[in-house]
């Protein structure tokens, strides 16, 4: 019971403890108070770390449209930190969270809060690309060690890369680039129409697909179907702009709510059934989307992503079951994996420098050198782009008797690195 309280005290998540957790905490605290009042036994824990506290500022959305992603990433981080007793390199790791929200102004305020008010040693987080890019110069200028835990904008691995900012998630280019080759060569589908939410991530993803797809002899059939982002209106005109009789299939980039409304409408209108191939970046049919649309799911859709729920490696099987146990039955998702790996990078780098982070260049070198077997497979950084090098899995959307709707891995492209120079 006291472990649980210890967790919370270490974690300082006051801002985001949900009501159930809060009640649990209250009950535990009452229990402890009772024990203390009765003159309970003196429990002295093992000797803790003796070095100075290591403060990590986590800037993630806990409200607004991306709140779910923020929570998953935070859970993943919490799970890894807990597994190592919230310490590394003889330093106690304390996490200070701030709400990234949606707009850049809020994300900037959140970053400044953890840096200037809380005086953190390191920053991690950022779900949305504009927010990651918008804080880049500030963090770079301060030489603040930073890990991007989601935002995929390509430029952070290219023109805007910083020696102090590494990315543990993906670049938008990564999941889609191998898919062009796969669709054209392995599936032999040569006429594809592009469907995407028209914003940075969508544009970068379909551009990466197009590059390898046309390079492998495929033809993009125009015009592209570009939806507003986010699309709060009717998806019908966009679904109907898919020229089912002229193409072998579509390649799609959408996520979250947009993917849900688009797929539902495409199922209702019978468009999905008429398509020889539904392909895309994996976010289009990730677990959050499949859970919402259930049987409107595009059976047999082929998508690329750096993870899949049923991935067979031991680390993933372990992660998925422990995650579900720790967070009252919640299913793991790709964002939780990214959080888990982000925390692991921090811990391993701290261990490597024996807790000494005053020499920032040495600390960044330690970060760059971290590599391990992640739930997503082999994880390491690319010295050229400061971006993660990882396997991109080709997955097929199926209804699994045990897992329900999910994405079965059918092929893989190991060691995919962003082409930044």
């Amino acid at each position: 019971m006291s472990d649980e309280i210890e967790d919370y005290l270490n974690w300082k998540l006051a801002g985001r403890i949900d009501r159930r957790d809060f009640l649990k905490l209250g009950v535990s605290a009452a229990g402890i108070a009772l024990v203390a009042a009765c003159g309970g036994s003196n429990t002295v824990g093992p000797t803790g770390p003796t070095g100075p506290e290591f403060k990590l500022g986590v800037v993630l959305p806990y409200s607004g449209v991306y709140a779910e992603l923020g929570n998953s990433i935070t859970n993943g981080m919490r799970m890894y930190f807990d597994s190592v007793g919230n310490q590394a390199g003889n330093r106690k790791i304390t996490v200070v969270t701030a709400d990234e929200q949606v707009a850049l102004a809020d994300a900037v305020a959140a970053t400044k809060k953890v840096v200037e008010q809380d005086g953190v040693d390191m920053v991690a987080g950022y779900v949305s690309s504009p927010n990651a890019a918008g804080n880049r110069n500030y963090l770079d200028g301060l030489k603040m060690p930073t890990l991007i835990a989601n935002a995929g904008v390509n430029s952070l691995s290219r023109a805007a890369k910083s020696p102090f900012i590494y990315r543990t998630s993906f670049s938008n280019w990564q999941p889609s680039h191998p898919m062009g080759t796969y669709v054209a060569e392995k599936l032999g589908k040569k006429k594809i129409q592009l469907v995407y939410a028209k914003y940075g991530a969508g544009l970068e993803a379909v551009a990466a697909f197009k590059e390898t797809f046309t390079g492998s002899g495929g033809t993009i059939v125009g015009p592209d179907v570009a939806t507003p982002f986010p699309n709060n209106g009717d998806q019908t005109p966009f679904v109907q702009a898919i020229q089912t009789d002229k193409i072998d299939g579509i390649y799609c980039f959408m996520s979250g709510t947009d993917a849900v409304t688009f797929l539902k409408k495409a199922a209702e209108l019978g468009t999905l059934k008429k398509l020889g191939l539904v392909s895309g970046a994996g976010f289009f049919v990730e677990q959050d989307v499949l859970a919402a649309i259930t049987d409107a799911a595009p059976d047999g859709a082929i998508t690329g992503l750096h993870w899949a729920l049923p991935l067979a490696n031991k680390e993933n099987q372990d992660f998925v079951s422990k995650y579900s146990k720790k967070f009252s039955g919640r299913q793991a998702d790709v964002f939780a994996v990214q959080g888990f790996d982000t925390a692991r990078v921090i811990v391993e780098a701290l261990n490597a420098v024996k807790g000494n982070t005053t020499n920032k260049d040495a600390f960044m070198t330690a970060i760059a050198g971290v590599s391990f077997k992640s739930p997503r497979g082999d994880f390491k950084f690319d010295a050229t782009t400061n971006n993660v090098v990882q396997t991109i899995y080709v997955r097929k959307t199926v209804k699994d008797p045990k897992l329900g709707w999910t994405n079965q891995v059918i092929d893989q492209y190991p060691g995919v690195a962003d082409p930044g120079k």
Partner: protein, 255 residues
């Protein structure tokens, strides 16, 4: 009533979550169509009697502040109960397919929504134009004090009307649930569009709201197809244009 209620979007969201809850528990969409309006009428009446009626005399700003406060309360309540995840429910049995009309294809459910919207719109116009309640409300919109001086019990009428409006928003939420996605924040999206509709149509005019909705609906779909990045911008440009040419809206009263 001349009341600016920003919590109207919350009523819509609560309607959608009611639909989700009822459909998950009973698999019966039609039951949700009955439950949500009743629930929202009760919520609406309670809010009006306890909170909003104190603000009528103080103009729009306090109304905006208080009702906006309630949107935050409601979205947090929804989030704490259902989490931030996007939810969806399927269309009711029989309406999950597509209908082919001439060369066009529509989802049956979209046509159902269209049909319901036309029926409700027509009933509202008839009620507004031809019923006693419509006369009382139009009088209340134009001069509350004078209506009271003629013996009209406006507080009761306003409570009823507010509850009725909340019920309609709840109904809209249920109807929208299978068509769109259900998530905390869906209230803000629909609220912004509703405000633009009302401003373009003209405050205090049902026909104006219908006309505004048609303009915005078509404008949004055409705009989002042609310029996906500027769909919302286009809507606001349209609103700005209307405000410049007719400051009181297309069918609004001129003060």
């Amino acid at each position: 009533m001349d009341v600016l209620n920003l919590a109207h979007g919350s009523f819509y969201m609560i309607g959608a979550y009611t639909a989700y809850t009822v459909v998950m528990a009973t698999q019966n969409f039609w039951l949700a169509l009955l439950v949500a309006p009743v629930l929202l009428a009760v919520i609406g009446a309670a809010l009006e009697m306890v909170f909003f009626r104190r603000l009528y005399r103080h103009g729009h700003l306090p109304q905006v502040l208080m009702t906006f406060g309630f949107t935050l309360v409601f979205v947090d309540l929804i989030r704490s109960r259902f989490g931030p995840t996007t939810r969806a429910i399927p269309p009711p049995p029989g309406l999950g397919g597509a209908v082919h009309l001439a060369t066009a294809t529509f989802s049956s459910y979209s046509l159902f929504v269209l049909g319901i919207a036309i029926v409700i719109g027509a009933l509202l116009v008839i009620g507004w134009r031809l019923t006693r309640l419509g006369v009382v409300l139009r009088a209340g919109v134009s001069d509350k004090e004078m209506a009271g001086l003629l013996g009209i019990d406006l507080p009761r009428t306003f409570t009823f009307t507010f509850a009725f409006g909340a019920a309609l928003a709840g109904l809209a939420g249920v109807i929208a649930a299978p068509e769109f996605a259900i998530y905390p924040g869906m209230d803000a999206n629909v609220l912004i569009l509703a405000l633009v509709v009302v401003v373009i149509g003209g405050l205090g005019s049902i026909e104006g709201a219908l006309l505004g909705a048609a303009v915005i609906g078509l404008g949004y779909v055409i705009g989002s197809t042609l310029f996906p990045q500027f769909a919302i911008g286009l809507i606001f440009a349209l609103m700005a244009a209307v405000l410049i040419i007719r400051p009181s809206g297309l069918l609004g009263r001129r003060s």
